[in-house]
Subunit: 345 residues, 2 copies
């Protein structure tokens, strides 16, 4: 298996190394050979080449079996002409990664660390499907001295494919999809609601579908997060709501994400940012990228047992309290990674 | 003083009546004459005239000293060609209400009802300034069988005026403004950030200004809401974040809002919706609209003592536990209103 590593910026390199070590252990244990190649993206790529997504990186990603990314961005590149985030947006588009999946399970061991009351977050088990290559992110932009515009644009096929992916996942879960839009204001949201409703009726009548407005959803996610199973939404709303949700579990450092296209390689990354303030100090929580590596095994390499084994090891380590400082523990990035490796063994 | 009442739909009429009764008591007590005229908006207006904002309503609002609105919308009008919400958007535009203010103070008496831990929400005291007549709400929309678009658009003067309003308010508070955008993706956000930064430097150097991305703000608001004083943002982000924030205080039924223009009459409304499921049953919490009436007195009629008197009465009533069912109390809408009237007296 040919895996591209994109360490990126800030804590990206150290957590990417942690995930690579875990994957090597899994490879030895189950008898797979993972071939790793490292490429530049984000601020690191701007520094080296002037561009946030060099052509060599793009080509390697597209030709790989899967991509594992650390993090991009940082104040160092603020105000520059090339922005690190452009690298991330460009690789999503180049790889056709139209669905961003963010699962959230609130661990009973960590529920007390949530800013929400334990009785509200305990047992939360949901997954966000965020459309990732459309909407206001990729529409035409204009700018004059006095005026700026961003175009939010969706086509029927763009909505259909991410809706199908969400419904299929719901069939393997609790059978419920909540589709989020702003249909009382936006034309793209009215199209979104129409298409999701039709795909549901035609292809997934066994699934329970409900529609919610993004503003009320921002409330409901805090008041009754346990009610949700699969949440399906467009790019910008997904960006906002999935970050809001990420707080429920007590530490954003734990959370993985998978970005998938139509059969090609997927891209996997923790949802935390590059955290330049703690970069290079062995302080970052490696769990987010380690669980992203598990999603990589499951979704891109179809190695289900191997993925389960990482997830079980992480659960054991969290239950034993072998955690980094963001979770009140005493371990550094490397020691926390070793703890997961020991648990796998 | 000439006050237009727009009862609207669902629980709108009964809470509007409550606020009118309170204003009458204040008028008697302080020797003001409030002249009320009632007009149609939303679903009620669609039923009666076919239009969500009849011309008579528009004309009366523009000619008034202030407008008090109940709520609009409901499933009854779903799928119809005319939507109740269009009435609300149209009156905001017609009255030039470019700034929507939503203050939130978490009452120590009610902090335990928040889904967040008491130690996180206790002492929260913030105000959201949401730009209300620009952005994706009012940009051009297109629709074909296969494709839909919404244009998000901002001009420099639109950003300047709401930024000034936010900075001025910060001068009377703790002196901090957090401006929220998505400058790593949107051109309108980059313009937003530039203009807010310039207005700050040129006119309000005494204020502390920070910028935040909307996705991280959705997290921070849950993790550390006490850190915020004035939050300034564009229309759609303001819609989402202010609803998210509204959950912190334990009941959305308590929260007022003010929509202001450049010197003309303002529009005041509770932030809760029309709640058709409990309409007409004397169950709705009148506090949201009663506190909106206080904002009306303060902002549009410049009657500061009168506004203070309503707010003090509400605080006393909440502290005494004389509350409606949404707050665990036994009072109906009318009895809760009477309790506030008694406290004013
Ligand atoms: C870095 C930024 C462009 C990106 C986004 O908005 O998509 C990030 O917030 C994310 O969610 O992956
Ligand atoms: C009803 C709807 C159009 C409105 C909005 O999105 O502005 C509402 O959510 C609000 O916040 O006042």
């Amino acid at each position: 298996y040919n895996i591209v590593l994109l360490p990126g910026d800030g804590v990206g390199p150290e957590v990417t190394r942690a995930a690579r070590d875990i994957l090597r252990v899994i490879g030895d244990f189950y008898g797979h050979h993972f071939e790793f190649s490292e490429h530049l993206i984000g601020g690191a790529a701007i520094d080296a080449t002037g561009e946030p997504l060099p052509e060599a990186t793009r080509a390697a990603c597209v030709a790989s079996d899967a991509v594992l990314l650390g993090a991009v961005g940082g104040p160092k590149w603020d105000g520059g002409k090339a922005r690190p985030e452009q690298g991330l947006l460009a690789i999503r588009k180049a790889m056709g990664l139209f669905a961003n999946l963010r699962p959230l399970q609130v661990s009973p061991v960590l529920a007390h660390r949530s800013p929400l009351k334990k009785e509200i977050v305990e047992g939360v088990d949901l997954i966000v499907f965020r459309e990732l290559t459309g909407g206001v992110y990729f529409g035409e932009k204009t700018r004059t001295a006095d005026r700026a515009t961003d175009l939010c644009e969706y086509t029927v096929p763009e909505i259909e494919r991410v809706a199908r992916a969400a419904f299929q996942t719901a069939q393997q879960r609790r059978g419920k999809v909540t589709s989020v839009d702003k249909a009382n204001v936006m034309e793209t949201s009215r199209l979104w609601r129409e298409v999701v409703t039709r795909i549901h009726a035609e292809e997934f009548p066994d699934i329970t579908l409900e529609h919610a407005l993004v503003d009320s959803m921002a409330m409901h996610l805090i008041r009754k997060p346990r009610e949700y199973d699969v949440i399906l939404t467009e790019n910008m709303f997904g960006d906002i709501l999935s970050d809001e949700i990420s707080v429920l579990g007590g530490s954003i450092g734990l959370l993985p994400s998978a970005s998938l296209g139509a059969g090609g390689p997927g891209l996997f990354e923790p949802i935390h940012g590059s955290a330049p303030d703690i970069a290079g100090q062995d302080l970052a929580n490696p769990v987010g990228i380690i669980l992203s590596a598990a999603l990589l095994l499951r979704h891109s390499l179809k190695l289900e047992d191997e993925a389960d084994s990482i997830e079980a090891a992480v659960a054991a380590v969290l239950a034993a309290g072998a955690v980094t400082a963001d979770l009140g523990g005493a371990l550094g990035t490397r020691a926390a990674t070793e703890a997961v490796i020991d648990a796998i063994r």
